[in-house]
Symmetry: C2
Subunit: 620 residues, 2 copies
């Protein structure tokens, strides 16, 4: 990591305007639940009227799922130095199964807290961590299995529905709500997501709610195949580039464009402090790969890793509020030789660290042998497992091979153990997979891991396009999402080549929002087609502004349009630059429609005449 910038604090206190300004014609709304502190944020996009020869038609506002957090609410004063409001704190406290600790209990956490050198870098308002009371289990799965519907579950139910029940009763939405029957591929999505359905899905392990009790700032969300397909983004510094303040800006940027969760993959020496900044300012669940930090602590020597050091790292991060941990507990010693003949060996960083450790000690992976102890930590803070796919294929050549599937079976075995502890689990997946082998991955995961939510990177469906791997993987992601994957880990255009900048992150997120939404449409998620219908209607009616505003990236759409037709008058013009003013298929179609209507009118008149006994028109 680069040195601490001199002006660090001042800079992070001010987010760039392009990161927080509301999208055009969008306003933040909150839908209340059964209690006043369940206020679920959504974004409402207003539309212009349609003017036709028949008069004026109202186009109702469109409500969309909103991951941007308080940053897009002009009513909320953002202070990065103070962090976001802790909206879940009352819910956690009233469950009375946690206690506030005096301070961090991990050795490393204590050391960092005591280091005066770090004062300048440190987030100023660190809360003392909470932990389950002795003997308690504070996981959402534990509550769910005892029949308790938590405020988190109710929040999620409202969020997933996106006001669909309300809109169904509003005649303005009747046509817009038409939707094709989906092909769910075995998913069982109800017509309305109820809090009880959320509870039931979490109880049976088919969905998870990543929500560490030490991350009360987050707006609860759910990952499961019977819910909207989610996307994850990654940020992280590295030894070569980036700094803490960039990471916080990237977090807000990621939420703005639609990232549902975020993994902090930093590997520098101040990652503890970076993480605190990120967590305190994050409205979305944060995941990490704790082995990265553990490796830092032993100066990058994998063979020097120990269970004790790793355990301390888990506690350190759990007490900061990390919501899910990637744990590569399925990389077993006996699987490592299965990768020797691969074209690209082991490409997962965590996987290769553990493989190296196993070989160096000729011992079984300590994450596997200490798995039950890890579960004890997870349930004390409600950290969810993201069981890592350390042996995922790094090339088309290595797809669906013995190493990959052997690990997957072990992840299933570990899922069962975690569930015995009521600890939430999702399963990580590929990688690089040719298109025709994508489905096998999901089918096998659902069987081997008992329908625990699948969380996949891509997959890339070809290796031949470095610089475009958001696309090679977005194709795989749409398919794997349709087949049943619950969350898609994004890939940016810089994959395999370098660290993504802001533009790359935006490009990667939008690509994955497309893939996730395409999957929702294919599965037939209730209400998913509303936005498509509204946008297409706007497009057909030449409501250019509405077409931009209803899209995933209104700014880009407007920019592209304005490159050819910059004038404001062009945005109400009934033509676009593709065909020019005298030749437009949409205009012609409108003429056809008017003509058809007139024809029908004549037919109706003919029928009326006949009814009255007259026989002026002959029926064709």
């Amino acid at each position: 990591m680069s040195a601490i910038p001199e002006d660090f604090v001042r800079k992070t206190a001010q987010l760039s305007a392009d990161i927080t300004q509301p999208f055009p014609k969008s306003r933040k709304i909150y839908v209340s639940g059964s209690r006043s502190d369940v206020r679920v944020p959504m974004r409402e996009i207003s539309q212009a009227e349609t003017h036709t020869s028949d008069g004026v038609e109202i186009n109702p506002p469109i409500t969309v799922y909103d991951t941007s957090g308080p940053y897009s609410d002009p009513e909320v004063e953002i202070d990065l130095l103070a962090g976001l409001p802790a909206l879940r704190s009352p819910w956690i406290e009233e469950r009375s199964d946690t206690e506030q600790l005096a301070g961090p209990t991990s050795a490393f956490g204590q050391k960092r807290a005591a280091d005066p050198e770090l004062a300048k870098l440190r987030f100023e308002h660190i809360r003392a961590p909470r932990r389950a009371k002795a003997g308690s289990n504070v996981s959402q799965m534990h509550y769910a299995r005892r029949g308790i519907i938590t405020p988190e579950m109710e929040f999620i139910a409202i969020r997933e529905n996106c006001r669909l029940q309300e809109l169904r009763n509003d005649p303005r939405y009747a046509a817009l709500l038409r939707q094709h029957r989906g092909e769910s591929m075995g998913a069982q999505i109800p017509d309305e997501i109820t809090p009880e359905f959320v509870r039931d899905e979490v109880a049976r392990g088919r969905a998870i709610i990543p929500a560490n009790i030490n991350h009360p700032e987050l707006e609860p969300m759910i990952i499961g195949r019977n819910f909207r397909v989610k996307i994850n983004t990654n940020i992280g510094n590295s030894a070569v580039t980036s700094s803490i303040e960039e990471e916080v800006e990237k977090l807000v940027w990621s939420c703005r464009w639609g990232g549902d969760t975020l993994m902090d993959l930093s590997t520098g020496k101040n990652i503890h402090e970076t993480r605190e900044w990120i967590l305190r300012n994050s409205p979305v669940p944060i995941g990490t790969v704790p082995i990265y930090q553990a490796l830092e602590k032993v100066d990058g020597k994998a063979e020097d890793l120990t269970w004790e050091l790793f355990k301390d790292t888990l506690i350190e991060q759990a007490e900061q509020g990390v919501d899910y941990f990637t744990i590569h507990a399925g990389v077993l010693l006996r699987y490592v030789p299965l990768t020797a003949e691969r074209v690209t060996g082991i490409v997962s960083r965590g996987g290769s660290i553990m493989a190296k450790w196993c070989l160096a000690h000729h011992e079984e992976n300590f994450l596997y042998t200490h798995f039950e102890e890890i579960c004890e930590i997870m349930k004390a803070y409600d950290v969810s497992f993201s069981l890592g796919d350390g042996l995922r294929p790094g090339s088309i050549a290595d797809a669906n091979d013995a190493a990959q599937f052997a690990e997957l079976e072990t992840l299933g075995e570990l899922t069962k153990i975690a569930w015995e502890h009521d600890v939430q689990v999702m399963i990580e997946g590929p990688g690089h997979i040719p298109l025709h082998w994508v489905k096998e991955n999901v089918d096998k995961e659902l069987v081997d891991c008992f329908e625990a939510p699948f969380y996949t990177l891509g997959p890339l469906v070809t290796d031949i396009a470095p610089g475009y791997d958001h696309i090679t993987s977005g194709i795989g992601a749409a398919n794997i999402g349709w087949y049943g994957t619950a969350m898609l880990c994004y890939v940016t255009p810089k994959e395999h080549l370098g660290l993504p900048n802001k533009a790359d992150v935006r490009e990667g997120i939008i690509t994955y929002k497309i893939s996730a939404h395409a999957a929702d449409l294919a599965k037939g998620f209730p209400g998913a087609q509303l936005r498509d219908n509204a946008l297409s209607k706007a497009r057909f009616e030449f409501r250019w502004e509405d077409q931009f505003n209803l899209g995933l990236d209104p700014e880009r759409a407007r920019e592209f349009h304005d490159e050819t037709l910059p004038k404001d008058s062009h945005k109400v013009a009934h033509f676009c630059s593709m065909c020019g003013p005298h030749f437009c298929s949409m205009k012609i179609t409108q003429d056809v429609r008017d003509y058809a209507k007139a024809q029908q009118g004549m037919q109706e008149k003919a029928i009326e005449f006949r009814k009255g006994g007259a026989k002026i028109y002959r029926e064709v």
Copy 2:
């Protein structure tokens, strides 16, 4: 269209360097056929050696399919004013079934040729057109059905194979040629594409060779589900932007990045002259939508169109050398009302023109009623049909509806008629289709149209991402290609918003090369995985230059890499900016592999010792 630029001729005579410079480490090669004038161009990418602890390993050059034409051959002197060499002229002449006409026979072609005003704009070396002798049929399908293997067919067989048989006999390629078994979805792809196989596929209508006898400059290619999936690009001016010289540059640009065919969709008043420039400089087949020009001739009034005027347009364009015509003969009068309740009506320009004509006259589509006469023209020049999908859906809401499928059935009926004339046919398809309904489109087309090659636009799998429709459609394209579509019509990021510029065209093409290649991999096209394997091996071995050069867009890959690590030394470095120098999974994996090898070495030594009677090592 904008006025003729003053410096038109001078400018088009000089192509920009970025359009013609060879890709790094690439050289043009020609593979000869059974006769000396069958010389099939390919691109060969050389690779660096791999240096390991065991010594030096040679990485053999990789041959790839090449659409760039003579432009990428430094040995060929390009003169846009003279046009490309007419490589097919001897083949056409020696068949002795055509005659050279005195000049254009269409009224419009004659008028343009005689207009002195156009001298400045006109291509200088216009050949008199050829036409089939009376009673002759010069279509490739006609030859195929009579058992004749044309030089075009042999050229294509060599091209599709990309030297695979030769490489299979070269031990350097043994590992690189490993490939997964595909899931062909009913395609019947042989292990080697022979000239006889090409002939047979063309004869039975399952593939087409678009190759007008008046376009002898083209390098023959084939469109069919048992061959590599192809992509088409579109160019075209419009009343608002662009000019002729831009169009010619776009053509060369399109070929450079991998466009297999190109549709000229120009709609301005000098399209006849633009088209001549494009054809004379095009190494790829050119398609048009003749109704666009016909509409220009009646000042944009669809109802004024007549069969006679349209027929003259067909002859005009056929005599210039257009290789395939989109003909919207399936838009029947009775289908038009089926679109009235759609969200986006009729979005095909050709479709809406014909619908308007049908309604205005209350008569059947004249393209349908005169279809046999159109066939007569097609077979006199060997123009292929691209039967247009005038009623394709313009939104997810309108997908797979009665209008779309009714038209498809009529296209099947027309296919049969065309085949009775030995005229080549492909079928155009959607549009906007949700992911789970994509396959139905292919399945229905294969049945209704008797396996005539399917040629689809996208489909876009969601409507909500204006500005990213290359991606929404690239997802659909990969899937529809896998299911059996033979050619994918590209979509640029500007779709729905404006005219694509050079950057957009490149982005659209690369996206579609990805989709087409993903489909080839999924179908198991022989040798398709070679490039993936080579690139992944290069990636794993930190051969950065090779990784860039083997990719679809070497320039972009290099740029992205250099943004973070600009120094030359970094391109031989065993790390990248994602993880930094001390932490790299690929490096660790290499360590693991070395370790595993050492372990195995010890085991082997143990075996040797045992063989020799010694018992130093115990077996585990």
